[in-house]
């Protein structure tokens, strides 16, 4: 019988302890800086190297480039850039390989929508998603061959 009462003592003691509930919908949860949320995309920085699309394990990134409008400059500029958040697993590999940090993670995590189509985010949307961008980005890159 003693065990039963001991347990009851524990539960009674816990009744007055501070609560751990978060007021989630009212107060958004603050995520740490390294949090991998919805990406921010900066078309200015993109050099259309296609690395992000190639590393993506779920093939959710599709991009097209066009010739640079200024004929004196070489290379391409980005034309369209879509991420399909139906299948994106926010694994962070695209930002890891991007040589210019054109694509960066942000702290946004709310992805619920009313339709599947709304989950297909285009370049404009991703560019506008410029709040709470990850700061610890540059130093975080795996340093090939050590520091």
């Amino acid at each position: 019988m003693l065990g039963l009462f001991k347990g009851m003592g524990i539960t009674l003691k816990n009744m007055t302890k501070p609560k751990v509930t978060l007021g989630y919908p009212h107060e958004p949860i603050k995520m740490p800086d390294r949090f991998r949320g919805i990406q921010h995309f900066d078309p200015e920085k993109c050099i259309v190297c296609n690395q992000c699309a190639r590393i993506c394990p779920t093939n959710c990134i599709s991009l097209t480039g066009k010739k640079h409008p200024d004929p004196n400059k070489r290379g391409k500029i980005i034309n369209t850039y879509d991420i399909n958040f139906e299948i994106c697993i926010l694994c962070d590999l695209c930002t890891e390989v991007c040589p210019t940090e054109a694509i960066i993670m942000t702290n946004r995590y709310e992805l619920a929508t009313y339709s599947r189509e709304a989950l297909l985010k285009d370049m404009k949307w991703l560019h506008a998603n410029d709040q709470m961008i990850r700061q610890d980005n540059i130093s975080s890159k795996p340093k090939r061959g050590g520091k």
Binding site: L4, G7, M8, I10, T11, L12, N14, M15, T16, K17, P18, K19, V20, T21
Partner: protein, 327 residues
Amino acid sequence: MDWYIFVYPVILLAIVLVFVMYAIYFERKVIGWIQLRKGPTETGPKGLFQSAADVFKLLIKEDIIPSKADRPLFKLAPILAYVPAFSVLAVIPFTDAPYLKFSNVAVGLMYYLALSSITVMGVLLGGWASNNKYSLLGGMRAGAQMISYEIPLVLSVVGVVMSAGSLNLTEIVETQIAGAWNVFPQFLGFVVFIIAAIAELNRTPFDLPEAESELVAGYHTEYTGFRFAFFMLAEYTYVFAMASLITILFFGGWDAPFGLTFIPPLVWFILKFCCFVFLLFWLRATFPRLRGDQLMEFAWKGLLPLAIINIFVSALLKEVPFLSQYF
């Protein structure tokens, strides 16, 4: 025949409904606090209207009857479960004031125990009529459990009845006011009664009939909307009734202890009543569930002999001359 005998039951029903709503609210709050949560907070200030909203939702929900269910029985079962639950309240005296007593039946205690045994039928029929295997198993567990625990329940109050010399609940309280609360001389009976009462109420650790980790929801798996609400109502009305009964049988009803008579008797009754209700919530938050066979073993090999010993000791105390003066 006065008009109030028709009005008071309606008022009592309203009180019971309010109690049920706030019992559910406080159950969620208390268990929430114990589990380091806050419990309902959203609907109304501090979540006070949460249960009202839940009940309202249940009432406006679509009424679904499974196509393979036994329709008449499926509809009858919740009523059969609820009607006795409410009828037992008729004999419970809440204070000595005449307007809070409905029926001063000579066999009040037996009336309570007899009528409460009909509820089992509602539960069994509900489980069977749903034509669902989990419901069937839940119904069978409920039937077996409630029948087995009724025996220690009845036997454990025999001691109280012997000391009071009456089956009338008012008289039982009055003898306690004159003497000591039954919880002291009848401690063994009290322990057996409270355990059997929790089992009768199908609450943790005896909540096998609706063990959600085993039987989904037990006998009311297929019930939705207001029929489900009726089963819940029956359950909590029994909590109300059982808490009242324990207060009356073992804690002297509306008797004020330590001569604190400036507090009105009804308040004392409610205080004692709330202690038992809180105990139920507390147990639910702490204990795991027993297994079916252990439950039966406990009833027949544990509680039943204890109850019989209690009767024997009570008889001894009452009849042996030099002991009976302390009794």
